[in-house]
């Protein structure tokens, strides 16, 4: 990819040596090295670094035996820009991503203004170019102004760079509108993502319905609200043949419905976020608003089912569901508090828990955060392969630590995982061959 940059400065090859190479796309797990040039992976394998194989003048990075994997592709983040820059910006969000090993992220269109026209998509692309950290993409809204009525110019938005379409944190609740969205998306074979929650059943709810909500005197969102919306949509998917993706699955019933739909051959995929397999509704405890999420944290049976579905691959992807909120949005009575938690910097270590506990295979988990979301969204990254972008994360798989919300790079500190002991630490993050993050020694 020769460009003006390479003419100014002769490109210097990069050589990562003494690494444990992990490529979930090919199943590679071996000691070796990786070469990159001009932002692209040029070679990798056990031969590099052991007996030569390092080009003249290369910058050599000794990985110390740690894991070198494709940079994470986080398919669900909210960056709050434009409109709520006091909570997060594309700059702070991508710094947080870099610290978490996330090299690509896709932001939701629920900004102000909403990303429902070409100008919105182009704004995100321009700001992403300016920040030069993680690669930032966006979804287009399904309906104008996220109002759930009129379809956006899906084709034009897609041409200008929107990867797929979703109404973000709101469900497309009207069955007729969803039917038309899925039908129309078929024109270009676009992916439509749904926030799975029957809006009327969930209305006014502050947390998962059940004993904990009843004790706290909070109105509940029945877990059935999730599977109801998914099952409705699955009928629409069957009618239209569209590509459909369920975001942040949180219940056993939803997992079952999706598993059955896949078995029937429907073009259905789904993701979840770490809180849904690492926490349950008890995290709300004494009205902890940082544990107020959407969908809400569920009961222990649902948490286990989600963890099992990540391990067996029924859940295709794991995304951070990064939702920054400032103090004023969270330091209020629970029912009034905004829903969501930051997650870019905790995505990798919390997901690795499933590996450390022996519940899931390392390469499978990495696939759910790299090549699988990349393939779903049509991105070339997310793999260690010759010719692929040199988007990499170097991490220590075993280093013990503890999540400290105050030390997060995100502008907002609303992590539901504050104080959680973790195992695994990002050492270095590389985007297009450039180091965008390096941990303190």
């Amino acid at each position: 990819m020769p460009g003006p940059k390479s003419m100014k400065q002769p490109p210097r090859p990069l050589a990562f040596v003494n690494a444990r190479l992990l490529d979930p796309a090919s199943g590679l797990d071996t000691a070796g090295g990786l070469l990159a040039m001009d932002g692209v992976i040029t070679d990798l394998g056990p031969q590099i670094g052991t007996n030569g194989g390092i080009p003249e003048g290369a910058e050599v990075i000794d990985c110390g035996g740690h894991c070198l994997a494709p940079g994470l592709v986080d398919m669900r983040v909210q960056l709050r820009e434009p409109g709520e820059e006091h909570k997060e910006t594309i700059a702070t969000g991508s710094a947080a991503g870099a610290a978490g090993g996330v090299t690509s992220m896709v932001c939701l269109p629920n900004t102000d203004p909403v990303i429902d026209d070409v100008a919105g998509v182009e704004f995100i692309a321009r700001r992403a170019r300016e920040t030069k950290r993680a690669k930032i993409y966006c979804y287009g809204a399904v309906t104008k102004g996220l109002a759930g009525r009129d379809l956006v110019e899906m084709g034009l938005l897609w041409e200008s760079g929107a990867l797929a379409f979703t109404d973000g944190v709101a469900a497309v609740g009207n069955a007729r509108v969803m039917h038309r969205a899925l039908s129309y998306a078929r024109t270009f074979d676009l992916l439509v993502l749904q926030h799975p929650e029957e809006p009327h059943l969930a209305e006014g709810g502050a947390m998962n319905a059940g004993e904990v909500a009843t004790r706290l005197g909070l109105s509940g969102i029945p877990p059935e609200a999730e599977v109801m919306m998914i099952e409705r949509d699955l009928h629409l998917v069957a009618m239209t043949g569209a590509r459909y993706h369920v975001a942040h699955v949180s219940t056993a019933a939803a997992v079952e419905a999706i598993r059955a739909a896949k078995a029937r051959g429907l073009r259905v995929t789904c993701d979840t976020a770490p809180p849904y397999f690492a926490l349950n509704e008890n995290a709300v405890g004494d009205y902890r608003t940082f544990a107020k999420l959407s969908p809400p944290l569920r009961g222990e049976d649902d948490r286990r089912a989600v963890a099992a579905a990540v391990a067996d691959g029924t859940i295709d992807c794991v995304a951070s569901d990064h939702a920054p909120h400032d103090q004023d949005s969270k330091r209020v009575p629970f029912a009034q508090a905004a829903a969501g938690g930051v997650g870019l910097e905790t995505l990798l270590p919390v997901t690795l828990e499933l590996y450390h506990k022996g519940e899931a295979r390392l390469l499978d988990l990495l696939a759910q955060m790299t090549c699988k979301p990349a393939d779903l969204l049509g991105l070339p990254q997310g793999r260690l392969a010759k010719g692929a972008p040199a988007d990499l994360v170097l991490f220590d798989l075993d280093a013990p630590g503890r999540i400290d919300a105050d030390r997060l790079r995100s502008k907002s500190k609303n992590s539901p995982f504050d104080g959680r002991p973790i195992q695994g630490r990002v050492l270095r993050t590389i985007v297009d061959g450039r180091t965008v993050f390096e941990a303190d020694a």
Binding site: G210, T214, G217, G220, R331, P333, A335
Partner: protein, 327 residues
């Protein structure tokens, strides 16, 4: 004003605040009830005032209208000799952007000893308690808890029946939205009473049986053999089609009248936290039955219980106070 007549009984209540009944031990509950009992007698004398809390400041902070509870706390504080300030926080100032935390900071600067707080949101009093320096009494938060109401109900029952243990209590009405129901469930089950809750399923919160109660949607069956019939207030906006089709239908199936009451024990007591909706959840005749209804007595016990709570939270020596108490 009389001097303190006797050395105060030891109070086995060790928390910094009173935010709810859930989590209190039977010993702590009994201790508060015993103390309240002693104040009942004092309140019936001509000279009702003591100087126990002289120099202490109590702030009644009400984010929701309540004449009865606020007056009861005010009277309780004044009878113990404290200075009592009432602050009704207008919703306008909340809308102007002053947060609960801002309010807490303001109050800290006023050095109050006890803060009595009512708020329309569940958990708001807990949040405030984390931020203020003074002791906090929850005077009702959303649908969560109303601990002094449960204590005064328990005191009323104990004085009439001589015990709480082994009694069969029916709580009827809007269980879903009721903080009174939750506090009473926690207190009565902790003290060994059996509790039934009676409501149409639209007014029953999910998982209620996990709180150790038996749910009924047939009021006649639910009242069978009960010692105590506790009615709850149903807010009018909830019975025009949203949770209940109409007042008429609600009263027909869930209003307490003599016919339904006949299923309870002949000496069953009727209670209501007030204010009553006559003809909605309770028939006027039943409410005014001097042999059965203890509704007036509940109000009297309310003052004594609140005196006991103010006493318990202020009398404890500073050294007993855990620096960072959870509740």
């Amino acid at each position: 004003m009389t001097d303190d007549r006797d050395t105060p009984a030891p109070i086995l209540y060790t928390h910094r605040h009173l935010l709810g009944i859930e989590g209190l031990s039977p010993i702590e509950i009994t201790s508060l009830l015993d103390l309240a009992d002693s104040y009942v007698e004092q309140n019936r004398q001509a000279d009702k005032k003591r100087s126990l809390l002289r120099g202490r400041t109590i702030i009644n902070l009400f984010f929701e209208n309540s004449t009865r509870t606020r007056t009861s706390f005010e009277l309780a504080g004044k009878r113990l000799g404290a200075d009592v300030i009432n602050m009704s926080v207008a919703w306008s100032s909340i809308k102007k952007g002053e947060t609960l935390i801002d309010t807490a900071m303001t109050l800290n600067a006023m050095h109050s000893d006890v803060l009595v707080v009512r708020h329309p949101d569940s958990g708001a009093v807990n949040l405030l308690a984390q931020k203020v320096d003074s002791a906090v009494i929850n005077a009702g938060d959303g649908s969560h808890e109303h601990p002094t109401q449960a204590l005064l109900d328990a005191l009323t029952i104990r004085r009439r029946k001589g015990r709480l243990d082994g009694l069969l209590v029916a709580i009827c009405g809007d269980i879903r939205h009721s903080r009174v129901a939750r506090s009473n469930i926690h207190l009565l089950t902790a003290m060994g009473a059996r509790v039934r809750v009676i409501a149409p399923p639209t007014l029953m919160p999910s998982g209620i049986e996990r709180l150790g109660v038996e749910p009924f949607s047939d009021m006649r069956r639910g009242l069978e053999g009960c010692d105590i019939v506790m009615m709850l207030r149903l807010q009018t906006e909830r019975m025009q089609g949203s949770f209940v089709p109409s007042i008429r239908e609600y009263f027909h199936f869930f209003g307490l009248d003599y016919e339904k009451l006949s299923r309870a024990k002949p000496d069953a007591l009727i209670m209501h936290p007030g204010p009553m909706n006559r003809g909605v959840e309770i028939d006027s005749e039943v409410a005014d039955d001097i042999d059965r209804s203890v509704i007036r007595e509940q109000v009297e016990m309310g003052v004594a219980v609140r005196m006991a709570c103010l006493d318990a939270l202020t009398r404890r020596p500073e050294s007993n106070r855990p620096a960072d108490a959870a509740s």
